[in-house]
Symmetry: C2
Subunit: 295 residues, 2 copies
């Protein structure tokens, strides 16, 4: 299986509508910034993290509007991180989601501001009182998303990823860095869905275990796709990692070793779901997708 | 009077301790990012916005720990904005608070990440449950700070400021841009202090009026200091605005016109405080400081 589960389409459409409503309108003096934010956040991407929110939220009675809002907030963070990661001073990428990177269209200064503004909007979306979640949970979700995105999460991971560039890293170090860079946000998405579903701590911990294994598996397939993927399918330049001498789990373990690690992570994620006796079909299908995806 | 009110010292010291506790420790794999964040956020600046929080919080019974937390969160946003504004693609400044700008010490990539991480930390600081404010107010403060910092606030203002570079702007446009770029955060600081003090809507609106006039006055004195200030006192390069052909209220109105506008704003801010029958001494002293400051 290499396609996203069917539910992904409806989740992506709901998140797209929510993002459209959250993003500033393209009018008035700030229309150029609004247009650039929309270029970066709308109409692209698999909406994989919102799908995780939705899949975990199925484990209990969650409000669909809340599921969509949390998914949209996470996508705002994800979109900002892609805009900043693509900057010349960072990964210097020209292509993103099959389109020119944000700074290629709008220039570096505006791209920096687009990322900054998308991050602020993500926290505003979770904190404001116009969606059906109690204030204490709204504050908890803000804190959780901020931790996942901040210095001990995504930002820290991107820093170490850049700092390690050109060095031959061992698999443990690479997994640690990837865990911060992409794993923290994936884990937040999954456990946030569980919180919306009202799960107890044991079940949230199980979701956390699933998400940590899934996140690393996602990164391994990302590295494999960079190594051997088709830019027309992935919408990204291929071979960037090798060209920049970047250590990945593929370079550290070889393609065969990386595939073995992937199988191990699949078992680990799958086992973590055994605590649930129903409603895990979508989480299992996401796992299958992650370990076999081609884009 | 050109010195900050005496209370400023105690406020700044409390905020400094709070920032030290909120910022990640300089240890482990992320120590370089932590050190760079600390370089940008600690030991510098007047802590003017936290002083506004504290001054407005005096208008009612506010918890001192809450006042400090809100001030620290605002300073994290302010510090991130300075790091990003100083980047080569933005204002390309080399000196900040009397020290080399963050990207001059740590490089561009890390400076971008420092800003990103400081922003996330600001929202985490307000959202987490370890300070004495009810969840609903924590969520409200997150939403308010995010709006003030986001596309329709600080980020929008910085975008227009860059977009207007080299153009002769009229005073109204410049005031609009400055209102977004620096006014929104100053207004948030002041009204947030009022919220911590439990003020009613009429009094919060009065604080908003005070803060809007104060914010623009602050920007005029900033522009006057750039025009004629002493870098040894301000800790910033002088004459950057004129060198870059930047339109400011000083270039649009002339020094005399700008000083007249400053006097008008002082009256406006002062009148807004007339609704309060006590405890406004500190707010009035801050106003005097703003219109007469030399650094």
């Amino acid at each position: 299986m290499s396609a996203l589960p069917e539910a992904a389409g409806a989740v992506a459409a709901a998140v797209e509508r929510e993002l459209d409503a959250l993003l500033p309108p393209v009018e008035g003096p700030l229309r150029q910034l609004a247009a650039a934010m929309r270029y970066a956040a709308l109409g692209g991407g698999k909406r994989f993290r919102p799908l995780l929110v939705a899949a975990a939220a199925r484990l209990g009675p969650a409000d669909p509007a809340a599921v969509t809002r949390v998914g949209a907030a996470i996508e705002l963070i994800h979109a900002y991180s892609l805009v900043h990661d693509d900057l010349p001073a960072m990964d210097d990428a020209t292509l993103r989601r099959g389109k020119p990177a944000c700074h290629k269209v709008y220039g570096e200064a505006l791209a920096i501001l687009v990322g900054d503004a998308l991050q602020a909007l993500a926290f505003e979306a979770l904190a404001r009182a116009d969606w059906p979640v109690a204030p204490a949970l709204r504050a908890e979700l803000v804190a959780g998303l901020a931790r996942a995105a901040g210095p001990l999460g995504m930002c820290g991971g991107q820093h170490l990823d850049l700092a390690d560039a050109g060095r031959a890293g061992d698999a443990e170090r690479i997994a640690y860095v990837e865990g911060l860079k992409t794993g923290a946000l994936i884990a937040f998405a999954t456990t946030a869905g569980g919180r919306l579903a009202g799960l107890d701590d044991d079940r949230l911990a199980a979701l956390g275990g699933y998400a940590r294994a899934l996140g690393l598996a996602f990164q391994i397939t990302d590295d494999l796709l960079d190594h051997e993927g088709d830019p027309r399918a992935t919408g990204k330049d291929a071979g960037l990692d090798a060209a920049s001498g970047k250590a990945t789990l593929v370079s550290a373990l070889g393609v065969t070793g990386a595939r073995a690690k992937l199988a191990e992570l699949e078992r680990e994620a799958s086992t973590a779901l055994d605590i649930f006796d129903c409603q895990v079909t979508l989480l299992r299908r996401i796992l299958s997708y992650v370990v076999t995806r081609t884009a």
